[in-house]
């Protein structure tokens, strides 16, 4: 919405290189400097240095610094072009702005180098270390380091600014090369696993250096393939997608069936070619997909912000644990049987539904934000109860419940030591959850939820029983989370109160929001990207080196998404319309489609006066 037009003499042509919004440029420069200093002091360059991208040229550590001047050098001159506005021509102005931003940023890093060399602030700032200094100066002395970062900052800022100026093709080629190299580096484990699984070890050996990181010839190869794809392949993909979307009736159904079939086949075949670690990762992603699908019903569809969602995960985990484990708390009477996992699952469903009702009923009438805090309170209470000595005889207290057997299927026992089997089990439940979410979304109750989300009083006036609908959302969400808890218990073989901290709720919330509230594909994509790549609250992801920083990244991501793209990466169409109603109205108004009575709907922020 920052689309204010700057008062310039020539609105449409290229502006002179010094015709800058100086204040903005300086601010962005200082921001760059600040971010660079923060990242350095947060230990990212040192902590991530062991993760190589291209051996021996580039590591994640340096990437964590390099992207900043480029991104902000690009952002400083990007403008949002709304309907009814004409974009400026780009030229030297953008380059100069980017250069200055980068220069100031590099200067900030130079300043940090000088400061580290001269002062010792190691007492509060734990990463104020010689290692950081060595990394930033390349062991070549202070002058070299300062000079390097000034130059590098300027160059990267210029690079960012240049992205505005160069032709679309060049931009596409460069972006493709960078993205492909990064992607191949991030998915290194998966790709070498797959190539090993399909007898193509030589490919992985060619691509990757022995101890991790792309080899130089591998990087060049990947970049070339990426560029070729961007130039020639992408069009074909887009055409195929369009022709798929334009299919109708019988053909569409058949195409959908084929897509679904190939997804199923991929889910079955992929784990077979993957190794242990990658399968473990997939199983974790699956558990979180299940949780996120449940929360998606509560938050995404019904619009109830449940922060104590982990409580239901805990109920599922503990119920399974207590019913199946041979080492449960000693206060249980002897006659209580040790059941099979599937029998326990039935009890889990009942208990989860009851706890959904019990937690849901008191909070259902509260306003949205009170509800959030109270559910958070319930989540904490349940954890504290499991932890307490009072119920320790039943739940094991801080020692938790151990010796939980796997799921005995007759021909095979699914347990944590076999992540592939766990993944298949999770996948079955995910498929069930996806089916349930999909059917519910299209059903009467799904439409009722969406109506409640958009406006509760209107929904009530339309004859929807809001209390029942909201309770049902709670119960469905609870049951899905409890499934995940039951599988989690069988997978890990033990449950402890520390597995069910509030952090889990928040991480699931981030997954749902980043993926796209209310959209099943979005939620799955969110879980795969966040949990798979960065890792869950306690589970490592593909970028295991990031574990120190993942929560920081989650927090930043949550804020950024809320500010810039509240509908998520893969948005739900209806939800995104709700959130951007003002902009839609504004565009429509500028086009002249809305009569002027609706002007007050535009809100005070959208006040771009028509020229």
């Amino acid at each position: 919405m920052s689309a204010t037009m700057e008062p310039t003499s020539d609105l449409l042509g290229a502006r002179g290189p010094l015709d800058q919004d100086w204040r903005k440029v300086i601010n962005y420069g200082l921001l760059t400097a600040l971010v660079l200093m923060f990242i350095s002091l947060a230990n990212m360059p040192v902590g991530l240095d062991s993760r190589k991208i291209i051996e021996p040229l580039l590591s994640m550590g340096y990437i964590s610094l390099l992207w900043v001047p480029a991104a902000l050098g690009y952002a400083v001159t990007s403008e949002k072009v709304l309907e009814g506005m004409v974009a400026h021509k780009k030229g030297a102005r953008e380059l100069v702005a980017g250069l200055i931003v980068g220069l100031i940023g590099g200067g900030g890093l130079g300043l940090l180098i000088v400061l580290i060399d001269n002062f010792d602030l190691r007492d509060p700032l734990v990463n104020w270390s010689p290692q950081l200094l060595a990394l930033l100066t390349f062991d070549e002395g202070i002058g070299y380091g300062v000079g390097f970062w000034l130059m590098a900052g300027a160059a990267l800022g210029l690079f960012g600014g240049a992205a505005h100026v160069v032709s679309a093709t060049v931009r596409k080629v460069v972006a493709a090369a960078i993205l492909w190299i990064l992607a191949f580096s991030v998915f290194e484990t998966v790709i070498s696993d797959i190539s090993e699984g399909i007898q193509l070890e030589w490919l992985a050996d060619e691509l990757y250096y022995v101890r991790g990181g792309l080899s130089q010839q591998g990087a060049v190869g990947v970049a070339v393939v990426g560029i070729l794809f961007a130039l020639f392949g992408r069009e074909h993909v887009r055409e195929a997608k369009q022709s798929f979307q334009s299919l109708e009736g019988e053909k569409r159904t058949r195409a959908n069936a084929i897509m679904l079939g190939s997804c199923v086949v991929a889910t079955i075949v992929l784990p077979m070619v993957l190794g242990r670690i990658t399968n473990e990762l997939l199983a974790n992603v699956g558990l979180f997909v299940l949780l996120a699908l449940g929360l998606n019903i509560v938050v995404g569809l019904a619009g109830i912000l449940d922060l104590g969602y982990v409580a239901f995960f805990a109920v599922g985990g503990y119920t399974t644990a207590i019913l199946t484990s041979s080492n449960r708390g000693e206060s249980w009477p002897d006659w209580m049987p040790h059941t099979h996992w599937f029998v326990a699952l039935i009890v889990v469903v009942v208990f989860a539904a009851l706890s959904g009702l019990f937690i849901g009923a008191p909070v259902i009438r509260m306003r949205g934000d009170y509800l959030a805090i109270v559910t958070l309170g319930f989540g904490e209470i349940i954890r504290l109860l499991f932890l307490s000595d009072w119920l320790g005889g039943f739940t094991g207290g801080a020692q938790g419940v151990t010796n939980i057997p796997g799921v005995d299927l007759g021909f095979v026992e699914v347990k944590g030591t076999d992540p592939r089997a766990i993944f298949y089990l999770v996948a079955v439940f995910c498929a069930f959850a996806i089916y349930v979410s999909w059917r519910l979304e299209k059903s009467r109750i799904g439409r009722a939820w969406m109506a409640i989300r958009e406006d509760e009083s209107v929904a009530e006036a339309m004859g929807i029983n809001t209390v029942n609908a909201k309770l049902l959302a709670f119960v469905v969400g609870a049951v899905l989370a409890a499934f995940s808890g039951a599988i989690f218990a069988a997978k890990v073989g033990s449950v402890f109160p520390t597995s069910f901290i509030i952090l889990v709720s928040i991480v699931i919330l981030v997954v749902v929001i980043v993926g796209g509230m209310g959209n099943i594909y979005g939620v799955i994509a969110g879980a795969a990207v966040l949990i798979g790549v960065l890792g869950g609250p306690k589970q490592p992801g593909l970028l295991a080196e990031f574990s120190e920083f993942k929560l920081l990244i989650y927090g930043a991501l949550l804020i950024w998404m809320m500010l810039k793209r509240p509908e998520g990466l893969v948005p739900n169409v209806r939800r995104s319309r709700e959130l951007h109603q003002e902009e839609f109205l504004q565009d429509a108004w500028l086009k002249g489609h809305v009569d002027t009575d609706d002007q007050d709907e535009l809100g005070d922020e959208g006040g771009v006066a028509p020229a």
Binding site: N43, F378, I381, L558, I559, L579
Partner: protein, 374 residues
């Protein structure tokens, strides 16, 4: 249609009945617990008390006094944090979830500065002046955090659907916690030892109170008086109250709404900064998650006292603090619940739930504009 409506009515009363049931059960639980506690105090051998929990030992007068005082001093701290929640909720109508982190920033700053002062020797030799200094520094840092937070995260979201700023504030809270982890390290860090003369017990009226707790109560009282003066007696305060009542009308009256909202965040941040130092004095240890539980409890305190009501926030803090320190022994133990001290945090949440069930507008009534009352 009629059957559907009847069905609906029946369902509604179903939930209502359940709520009434919950209210009754909770009230019964609390009152009976209290009665049994009193019976036990009168005579530990009397048949009713002995039957329910024969192990309960009851409290001596000294223990009781100690619990009340520690409850009140923690409650004063909660009250100071609660002011920030209450004011922001009054003005913007959303829960600033990250306010607990503003408090944590205050406690962290105090830790860093007081350790530096301790190294320089000033902490021992000139304690009161050092204390004043760390309070000022903590206020500055907390205020800056709160103001930056408002500028970066909340201002662009004015007028967004209600839950959006709340979710953003969860992100802010998460971010600040983890910034603290990556910059200052994940471990718990401690304040320097307090001088001996401070820790000594002194008798005031009927109470024997530790010096630290007197200090906490005094600092809290001074801050509260300052805030009361600011809000009720100055022009800035008048503007804040006007904006809380109705933003549009206030801006028509020539009040700069943006500036007033920033002031609100700043004042709330300052109070949280003071509370951070009080935390440091009381517990002498701070970690990145320090802000989370006190933050939630302070919000509960704000709700207990009636959100938007500043006196209520302070009173809510004091009552929540005392409830949290007394209820485990006075309500839970007579029921035969073991290991009650572990359930302290659960008690705070139960108080919140109970108040919202029984009297959602808080003990002293909420003061919100009509649009936020929803």
């Amino acid at each position: 249609m009629t059957t559907a409506m009847r069905h609906k009515a029946a369902q509604k009363t179903g939930v209502d009945q359940f709520l009434t049931f919950l209210r009754v059960v909770l009230s019964f639980f609390i009152i009976t617990g209290l009665v049994m506690f009193v019976l036990q105090q009168i005579n530990p051998d009397n048949p009713i008390a002995a039957r329910i929990n024969p192990d309960a030992t009851g409290l001596t007068a000294d223990q009781f006094e100690g619990l009340v005082i520690s409850g009140l001093s923690q409650g004063a701290m909660y009250g100071l944090i609660a002011l920030g929640y209450s004011m922001v909720y009054g003005v913007l109508g959303f829960i600033n979830f990250a306010h607990g982190e503003v408090f944590m920033v205050g406690a962290m700053t105090g830790m860093i500065v007081s350790n530096k002062l301790d190294e320089a020797g000033a902490w021992e030799s000139n304690f009161l002046l050092s204390l004043l200094f760390i309070i000022v520094v903590a206020i500055v840092c907390s205020t800056a955090t709160a103001v930056i937070m408002e500028r970066v995260a909340y201002r662009p979201l004015r007028g967004a659907p209600r839950l959006i700023p709340l979710i953003t504030s969860i992100g802010v809270s998460f971010l600040i916690q983890n910034i603290s982890v990556v910059l200052l390290g994940p471990g718990a860090k401690s304040y320097p030892t307090l001088p001996d003369w401070l820790a000594d017990k002194r008798s005031i009226l009927f109470f024997e109170i530790e010096g630290t707790k007197i200090m906490v109560l005094v600092v809290a009282a001074i801050s509260m008086a300052g805030l009361w003066f600011l809000v009720e007696r100055t022009k800035t305060g008048k503007a804040m109250r006007a904006v809380a009542e109705d933003k549009e009308i206030a801006s028509l009256m020539g009040i700069d709404v943006n500036k007033t909202i920033v002031t609100t965040f700043a004042v709330g941040g300052a109070m949280a900064g003071v509370a951070g130092i009080l935390w440091g004095i009381l517990f002498r240890s701070v970690i990145h998650t320090t802000g989370f539980l006190p933050g939630i409890k302070a919000f509960s305190a704000a709700v207990v006292g009636g959100i938007g009501n500043l006196g209520g926030a302070m009173a809510g803090g004091l009552s929540l603090g005392s409830a949290e320190s007394l209820a485990p022994l006075m309500v839970l133990e007579p029921w035969g619940i073991g290991g009650v001290s572990q359930l302290k945090d659960a008690v705070a949440f139960l108080v919140l739930i109970f108040v919202l069930l029984v009297r959602p507008t808080g003990l002293f009534g909420e003061r919100l504009s009509s649009e936020d009352r929803a």
